[in-house]
Symmetry: D2
Subunit: 284 residues, 4 copies
């Protein structure tokens, strides 16, 4: 069975569900799933619709063109994601392995529908993990005063491998606006704090010093503002006065792994629509 | 604005979303919300659709008749719930007040769209709570060998007050099949355990003896099988070896209150469809 | 049985447990419970010890004097809390009732070992709740430019009633440093956010705008720095893109109630030691 | 620094803390940590005490003999665990890798203080994981009618490697009473359900059919009664009507990994005392 997922957003108006679903129904496609959301604060409408297009009799391009015409008439913003296209994901890491392993294992279990053609790091430490999973590993250290140069190499690799999604799996480098301009596809980061608390460096240490009773982690899309991008998923765990900063780190590792993998899965399952600085995450 | 919510279930087939949404759209109603679910295991389809029917030009009866014709053609099971009908809820309690208070307070806050015309108890203890909220209180004790008689009085009250939903807010009596046959509307119970663990009496004591590390509570629709009805909502909390049975009870009170109120709210917001012994709970 | 709880803190050194427990054992008191914590970062030692002093043959004053001598020798900071003294708690509220009710109900259930001799509010709205529970209610509005005057009246009431603990159960006023200087006993506040995120006003609105996926509440001791005092307890709940600011508020109410009551209970059970801006909360 | 942890249990009586702590203090050992618990239901007393024995001037045997004399006088049951002894842990697995990986990774991170000298499986599937971590892998299939024989081989391996703790990391075989009699050291199992719900086979399928809204996993010591041993740790996660049995399995994997690793860590940190069918788990 071949499927397509449309992610749609537009200003709310009468007849949108009926209109869109009828468009597809009249073309003979079965609607396998349809979720929607209306944001009453902004009067915006969001839809995720899954179609069985096994019996598509025209080309994919023609099909998209027909929908594009329909969409223009109704001022819909949209994207289409076909089940036979496997997205390519690059993993960027530094020295800690837990998020990297978690993604590789879930990929291995079949939870994450993607290819992982390369792992890039600014440190050599995790090459052995890449080796265990037979994935090419590129070590691109950031030398003093040469960050620009390193980023150019990294972006070059992402482009060479036609990367659709970059995942910062505890990559301890801030990406420059130039990087983000150059690599325009989505980037997901895991921040080891319950954002917006403890943005920036050393969140566990600062959480410890503030004496919080719950710690967390946040997966978000990367934007030019550090730790300010649209939040996809968050997770938390209780801590007690017995936990020192080291325990925060240890407990946090499990939270980070689970939260990042959930966010990456939601993205790869095309369940996320970004609107302003917020995300609609349709659940499956 | 007048709204109606349709809850629909049927065997899955092609064109259901488009068909149903078009039916309403062609009648001129704006679809305010539409959620659906397909159960792949049973090939059943479920929909919750919210319509603005402010501009309904025919009678409600005519409108329902037209939909009934449409529904029959497509073998839909359905119910319609109008925003201008305020359901009547009866609360049945025994001697503990926490669930009772939680429902009364949330009703007072406007979270629960219903009337609460009476509180019934098999004990006199909680009359003062009913008095605080100016709600008629009926004390109907269960005398030895006269349970049948007591139940007849209770059912009589539920019918007299045209009760749509009965909530067992820690009512420590098992309802007989005769009761359930006589009062055919939904009944929601809170069981103070994480079902299906610890069905029946003294769940906290048994949970303590088993040495569990997490306790819970379960809100479910009442069926003839004790604690076997469709689960609506569950909640849990961690406990430690320091907690004795009394602490389980104390900690459990908060879980019970929150879980029961969530279940009652979901029911009153018409978010629940029962299928077999399972519930679809559309979130809002 | 008469009990006393000692809360002790000092610089860590060899022989502290043995020394302190032997002091009490030699006086013939059974040690009912003894919890301790060593903060490795600050090399500080903390102990909570519960003694059965039913067979105290001297006066309480003499007993304390003896311990004071011992404590001075070992540079212990300490406080003693006797089971036959029932602390007096004042509740300060504004217009929302959920935290107020939760404390009153838990007090009624016997969970909170205290007297609640008065409720003070800057609004008249919740007088009916005070009436339901037969507690004197003082309405002290904050008139423009007369905050100082109002605070003087409130402090006067707290002193008149010999209040040991003041609980801000959603009291929507910031206490001035003068107030805190004048009323030196502990004050617990509930902030409707997961501190340190969203300090200050309108936390739910700002949480919604930031697009968080989990909301929370924080109970903390009040200090002169707004929302910066030592955190006692935090709680969280998941939210989705379907939740608007109103849902955050509604869902938040349950978190706030539970978190505040837990913090007040921990304080009244003498389980909390404050150190710097952090709390040691011994669990029971 | 050399440390020893004593785990002690006995009938509760006056002077226990003071007596035990003084015993060690008088020998010149600093008490690094001391936690205790009194079970009021059974009048049993439990202590975990951590000593710095760097300055032990006698042999370990002599030291234990002295404590044994003291313990006998006070009818203490006890065990002593020295920081310079690294326990040996055997991992038993079948075909799913998530729990295996999680333990190996946490071991690699230094969270689990143990050696893992071998992995045993009744299937060849996971040999590659053992290879990745350079751990000997023994494949011992269970042939029809030859379970006894296979168990003898497995027990032989556990004895040959002087295994202190066996971890069933999703080992899909029930150990016979003979096995348990032969290998007398502790065995920890992960059951993929929130015990005591869904004991035995296919818990996720049965949880799905029962329509639960929260799923869980339970780590427990293995006893002769299937899934009835003392519970060490439990974890849970919410599920919705959108989750089929496959989603339960997928979501469950994260819970199982975290719960099993926490239980193994607590055991290796000597934080657990078993009493009857319950566990005291001192937190650190």
């Amino acid at each position: 069975m071949k499927e397509v997922i449309f992610l749609i957003q537009c200003d709310d108006s009468k007849g949108l569900v009926a209109g869109i679903t009828s468009f597809f129904y009249e073309k003979g496609f079965n609607i396998l799933d349809c979720q929607q959301h209306t944001d009453l604060n902004t009067a915006k409408y969001f839809m995720r619709i899954v179609l069985d297009i096994s019996n598509l009799r025209t080309s994919q391009d023609n099909f998209e063109q027909e929908f594009a015409n329909f969409a223009e008439k109704h001022s819909l913003e949209w994207s289409a994601h076909y089940s036979d296209y496997i997205p390519k994901v690059a993993l960027l890491v530094s020295t800690t392995s837990h998020c990297l392993y978690d993604i590789l294992l879930k990929h291995h279990e079949g939870d994450l529908k993607c290819e992982i053609p390369l792992i890039i790091s600014n440190h050599p430490d995790l090459e052995y993990v890449a080796d265990q999973f037979n994935i090419p590993f590129y070590c691109e250290p950031v030398k003093k005063g040469e960050k620009e140069k390193q980023e150019a190499v990294v972006v070059g690799l992402l482009k060479k491998y036609n990367i659709d999604l970059t995942v910062l799996a505890r990559y301890m480098q801030i990406l420059t606006p130039e990087f983000l301009a150059e690599f325009a596809n989505p980037i997901i980061n895991i921040h080891h704090a319950f954002l917006p608390a403890f943005q920036g460096a050393n969140p566990y240490k600062r959480a410890y010093e503030r004496g919080v009773k719950i710690i967390g982690a946040t997966a978000h899309y990367v934007t030019a503002e550090l730790d300010e991008g649209p939040i996809i998923e968050q997770g938390v765990e209780r801590v007690s006065h017995k936990c020192g900063p080291g325990d925060f780190k240890r407990i946090g590792r499990d939270i980070e792994s689970v939260v990042l993998s959930k966010a990456v899965k939601a993205h790869l399952d095309h369940q996320i629509i970004v609107t302003g600085n917020r995300t609609i995450v349709f659940s499956n």
